[in-house]
């Protein structure tokens, strides 16, 4: 049924974008939007064998202008993210995801400088840990449905000065997610006890100014889990439900100075969760003192709280109108506020707090193929470092090289 809906919506979008296109550039009623980015790369990690991975992002949209102050924008987004190097504490290199997103936004001009944009969106995401797993069976497959209300205030029409307020809400479901251990333990009285643990209500509020190609913003996101409960200090699930919060501040610009095209950005995120973590040193570990720090079963309060700094400084050197040499550095530094690092034997060191850094140095060539397309060849050196050396499940300290090619088309 969902596939049929997806098919129908896409066909409607496609038909309209075609019908609009035939009206030519003079048409003010329909404006098609087309954006596609393809990349494919080879990844050589310091540990393990080399692998390949790529990304596909295709957006097909249509802006329908009913009259000068009323318009409707529909957008379909297909996104595939293949294997690749990942920040620590996120996912395996071989994980891949495939998502479909549908968004319809109504744009209404209230006064000359104020526009409101209510909208609805639906997305479906598939995830799998490797090529041998069926997309439909992914543990973290996700459905999301929700709406938004955004308002744009144009404070400087000459220099593209806009202040945007946005509130959006999503009902997020993970239909396949289950906790096998809890299912096993609770099989006697309920088969549903461990289902829907990741289901959540996600809310997002942001205030973002933009002026003269400078941009920034303050974003607050909170996730209320519907079923997942917090582990209490005695090591059992209590009555409180999990709640995660993110506050992000960001700033950046996109300017061309002489032959240098620069688009640096910096962001700072504070993540808070009321969820705690119970570390079992080995299968079947038992302990009566969960808070001593040296027990086989140790509870880490505030395990998931962190502050993260993300600095991205890409620079393109415009050699000719078609050719450019690009380079850049990206640093992601995550400092956990409560979580101590572990050594290779899975033992906590309570004298410090875990800190991860992922640095990416990149260099490449960019060529403008024609009016709508760009081609890039890029080399990246990735260095992951952490004071956490327990790497049984995820790598924390590694070096990687990657070479990729990418095409980008925007119309």
């Amino acid at each position: 049924m969902k596939k049929t809906i997806i098919l129908i919506v896409v066909l409607i979008l496609l038909f309209h974008s075609n019908s609009s296109a035939t009206t030519g550039e003079g048409s003010k009623i329909f404006s098609p939007y087309f954006d596609m980015t393809l990349s494919e790369g080879a990844f050589i990690p310091s540990e393990g064998n080399f692998f390949s991975g790529g990304n596909i992002n295709a957006q097909v949209g249509l802006l329908t202008k009913v009259n000068p102050s009323n318009s409707i924008f529909g957008l379909y987004n297909l996104n595939y993210a293949g294997p690749g190097f990942q920040p620590q504490d996120s996912k395996q290199f071989q994980e891949r995801s495939l998502s479909h997103g549908f968004n319809i936004e109504y744009r209404r001009g209230i006064i000359e400088r104020l526009k409101i944009r209510p909208g609805i969106s639906y997305s479906k995401e598939y995830r799998r840990t490797g090529a041998n797993e069926a997309w439909e069976n992914g543990l973290y497959n996700m459905d999301s449905l929700g709406g938004q209300l955004a308002a744009d205030y144009y404070f400087d029409l000459d220099r593209d000065g806009i202040l945007t307020f946005q509130y959006l809400t999503r009902d997020v479901k993970f239909p396949n997610y289950t906790d096998l251990l809890r299912e096993f333990q609770g099989a006697g009285y309920s088969s549903e006890v461990s289902g829907g643990l990741q289901d959540q209500a996600l809310n997002h509020i942001s205030l973002r100014p933009r002026w003269n190609k400078f941009f920034g913003g303050l974003t607050y996101v909170w996730q209320d889990y519907k079923n997942e409960r917090v582990i209490e200090l005695n090591g059992t699930y209590g009555g409180t439900r999990q709640r995660d919060e993110n506050i992000t501040l960001d700033f950046g610009f996109h300017h061309i100075l002489s032959i240098f095209e620069m688009y640096p950005a910096i962001s700072w995120t504070m993540h808070k969760s009321n969820q705690n973590y119970l570390r079992y040193k080995y299968l079947g570990a038992v302990s009566s003192d969960l808070l001593s720090g040296s027990s086989d079963v140790t509870l880490i309060k505030g395990n998931y709280n962190y502050n993260e700094l993300n600095l991205n400084i890409p620079v393109d050197l415009l050699i000719t109108s078609k050719w450019a040499i690009s380079g850049g550095i990206n640093i992601v530094k995550r400092d956990y506020t409560d979580r101590p690092p572990r050594d290779s034997n899975n033992t906590y060191d309570f004298n410090s707090r875990q800190s991860n850094t992922l640095t990416t140095l990149s260099a490449g060539i960019r060529k403008r193929l024609n009016e709508i397309a760009l081609f890039r060849i890029n080399y990246s050196l990735i260095v992951g470092s952490s004071n956490n050396t327990f790497e049984k499940y995820l790598p924390y300290n590694y070096t990687g090289n990657s070479i990729s090619i990418a095409y980008q088309v925007t119309y």
Binding site: S19, T22, I44, N49, V60, L381, Y411
Partner: protein, 246 residues
């Protein structure tokens, strides 16, 4: 300029050479072989996509023919032929109606016929496929067309043996496999000169979640392509097709 680019590319490659020794090609080859054995139809279907024509006919052309040369006819021995016919020219009936093309094709693997004739154990080995697609296209500027479409694609592999062989304890005399899916296509085409085109497109299989992206340069007779199958076994396929449009 070219020297600068070559120099830069070489500089980029230098850091990778230090890692060359750590690459285990033997293990990688074994892994790839395992993936082919696990999903042979998926592997061979990627070659079928290489020969499928999913771009619109050039403006003003009514019909066309295409045959895949590399890696389909050579070295995969896919004897193949595709045809394309314009059902409606852009703006012909109404300015709001796009160009509509119908296309389809068939292939058969010659190597399987040779194997059948030369082997005493094989009674019949058939490896073939066909596809049918509808492509809508319309101009969004004098040099740019967007195109969208639907494609039904099928591959069939069947093997009949003269005597049963033991596979994991089961006596097997026939083996049937295949692949079929409904695809959605979205792409954009840019005219770079007289009889010179460049296009990029994504094909998405709805049932099997198959993804393919194609980047093509084509002229009056030949199409050079770079097909990328991100979840495939051989991820990047360089492609050469021959076509004639009238």
């Amino acid at each position: 300029m070219k020297r600068t680019i070559i120099f830069t590319v070489l500089l980029l490659l230098i850091p990778c050479t230090s890692y060359a020794n750590s690459i285990d090609f033997g293990t990688k080859a074994t892994q790839l072989a395992g993936e082919i054995i696990a999903n042979p139809a998926g592997f061979f279907y990627e070659f079928q996509q290489d020969l499928e024509t999913t771009t619109p006919l050039p403006p003003g052309k009514t019909y066309g023919f295409q045959t895949g040369i590399f890696p389909t006819l050579l070295p995969a021995t896919y004897a193949n032929l595709s045809g394309k016919y314009r059902l409606h020219g852009e703006g012909k009936i109404s300015p709001f109606l796009p160009q509509l093309d119908i296309a389809g094709g068939y292939w058969n693997m010659i190597a399987t016929k040779i194997a059948t004739e030369q082997s005493k154990d094989i009674s019949n080995l058939d490896f073939n496929g066909y596809y049918l697609d509808l492509i809508m296209s319309s101009s969004v500027s004098p040099k740019i067309r967007t195109f969208y479409g639907y494609k039904y694609s099928q591959l069939k592999a069947s093997l009949k043996l003269n005597k049963a062989v033991d596979i994991a304890g089961a006596q097997v005399t026939t083996f049937d496999s295949g692949f079929k899916d409904d695809f959605l296509i979205a792409g954009i085409e840019h005219i770079t000169g007289i009889n010179k085109f460049w296009s990029i497109q994504v094909n998405y299989g709805i049932k099997e979640q198959v993804l393919a992206s194609k980047i093509s340069w084509y002229g009056k007779y030949f199409e050079f392509g770079l097909n990328i199958y991100p979840e495939g076994i051989l991820v990047i396929h360089p492609v050469l097709n021959f076509h004639l449009n009238f």
